[in-house]
Symmetry: C2
Subunit: 194 residues, 2 copies
DNA sequence: CGAAAATTTGACATGACTCAACTGGAGTGG
DNA sequence: CCACTCCAGTTGAGTCATGTCAAATTTTCG
C-alpha cells in the first residue's frame, strides 16, 4: 500500500514522527474504482472518508423533482465523501461517483475515532482542513447571491482550470447552478466578445 | 467574568477538567457591545473570534455594486466573526454588526494557538464545531440551487423561528438571497393561500 | 462507420428584480 | 396630543436573467 501521497499531504499541516506515519497504515486502506462507480449513494450511510490519489469524482444531490445538482468535484489530493453522513452515521444527502478511473485512500468509520486517539495531532490536521473547506463554502454562498452566472463561470474557470478540462460542460453548469443550455450561451457570448 | 455559558457549551462536546476550565479564563475576555456597533469591518483584519452570550448579530458582505448580502445571523450560543480572516490574518470579507445590544466572550488571535496548546482537547472541540458548520453551509448551497425563494423562506422560518422574530424582514430577505420586495410578495401570497 | 452522448441554437416562458409610489407604525418634539 | 419624520413593509408596472422545450449539430468512442 502506497501512502506517500497522503503522507506528503499531511506534512503540509502537521509534523508527524515516523512511528506516527507508520501507524496511519493500520487505519486506512487503498482502493481502486472504475469510471461511473459510486463511492456513496444518497440514502445510504457513508462508511468511509476518502482521499483522492488519482482520478476525478463528482458529488451530487438529487432533489424531489429528480434533478441532479453538482455539489463539488474532487481530484488528486482532495477529500471526498458525504461528511455529514460519515460523522453522524445518518443517511447520505449526496452521491459520490467517479468521473474517471480513480484511486483513493480511505478510512472506515470504525477506524476514525481510534485513529484520532492514536494520533491526536490529526485532530488539528482535520480541524484545519475542514476550516478551509468551510471558509470556501461560505464564500461560494455569497458568490452565488451576488454574482451573475457569467461572473461565476469566469471565476470557476480561473480557480479550477484543470477541472474544466476534465469534466463535461453540463456538469460544470450544474455546479454553477445553471442549465447546460445557458452555460453554452454564456460561452458563445464570451467568444463573440473577446 | 462569567464564563458559564461558554463552559456549558463546551461540555456538550468534550469533557474538561476543572483546571482546564479554569485555564480557559486566561485566554478569553468578556465584552459588551451596543446595538449597531461593529465587531468586524470588511477590509480589516479580524482579531477575535466571538461566542455570543446574549444578543443578536448579523454578518454581511458588501459587493462591488455596494449591495449588502447577509451571510448569517448569530444569537445566543453561536460563534461569530470572520473565520477566514481570523485564521489567516488577512483582510475580512465580511462585516459583523450588532442587531441588538450584545455580550460576547472572545478570544484574541494572539491567544488562539497558546490556548490550543494549553488545552489540546479544544482542537477536537473546534474540529467538531467547524465540521457541523461546514456540513450546514454545504446544505445551504444545495438549497439555494434546488429550491425556490418561497421554499427557502419556509425552511428558514421552521429552522429559526426565534430569529425571524428578532430581525427585520429586509435582512431575512437578504439572507435568503432575494429582495425585500419579493419576500413581501411571498408572505402575502402565503397569507392568501392558507 | 454508426450510435449515443454532449453541445449548440432559437422561440418562448417565468421567477425574481427594479423602481417608484404608497401605507402604516414608532418615536420625537413642540 | 397633534404634526412630522423616519423607517419598515407593501403593492404594481415593466424588465431582465435565466429556464424550458425541441430541434439541429458536433463530438466521442465502441
Amino acid at each position: 500500500m502506497n501512502l506517500q501521497a497522503l503522507l506528503s499531504y499531511f506534512r503540509q499541516y502537521v509534523v508527524l514522527s515516523s512511528e506516527e506515519e507508520k501507524s496511519i497504515e493500520e487505519f486506512v486502506s487503498y482502493r481502486k474504482y472504475l469510471k461511473n462507480q459510486y463511492l456513496v449513494q444518497q440514502g445510504d450511510i457513508c462508511k468511509s472518508e476518502c482521499f483522492v490519489v488519482k482520478g476525478c469524482l463528482k458529488t451530487f444531490h438529487i432533489d424531489q423533482e429528480g434533478q441532479e445538482h453538482i455539489v463539488r468535484f474532487a481530484v488528486e489530493n482532495w477529500w471526498t465523501a458525504d461528511l455529514g453522513s460519515f460523522i453522524h452515521q445518518k443517511p447520505a444527502d449526496y452521491n459520490v461517483q467517479c468521473i474517471e478511473d480513480t484511486e483513493v485512500i480511505q478510512f472506515h468509520y470504525s477506524n476514525y475515532e481510534p485513529m484520532l486517539k492514536a494520533i491526536p495531532k490529526l485532530e488539528r490536521l482535520f480541524r484545519i482542513i475542514i476550516q478551509n473547506a468551510y471558509v470556501a463554502a461560505d464564500k461560494r454562498i455569497i458568490r452565488n447571491f451576488s454574482l451573475t452566472a457569467k461572473e461565476r463561470y469566469l471565476i470557476f474557470r480561473e480557480q479550477y482550470p484543470d477541472i474544466e478540462q476534465r469534466v463535461p460542460q453540463y456538469l460544470i453548469a450544474s455546479y454553477l447552478g445553471i442549465t447546460k443550455e445557458f452555460l453554452s450561451k454564456i460561452k458563445s457570448q464570451l467568444l463573440h466578445e473577446g
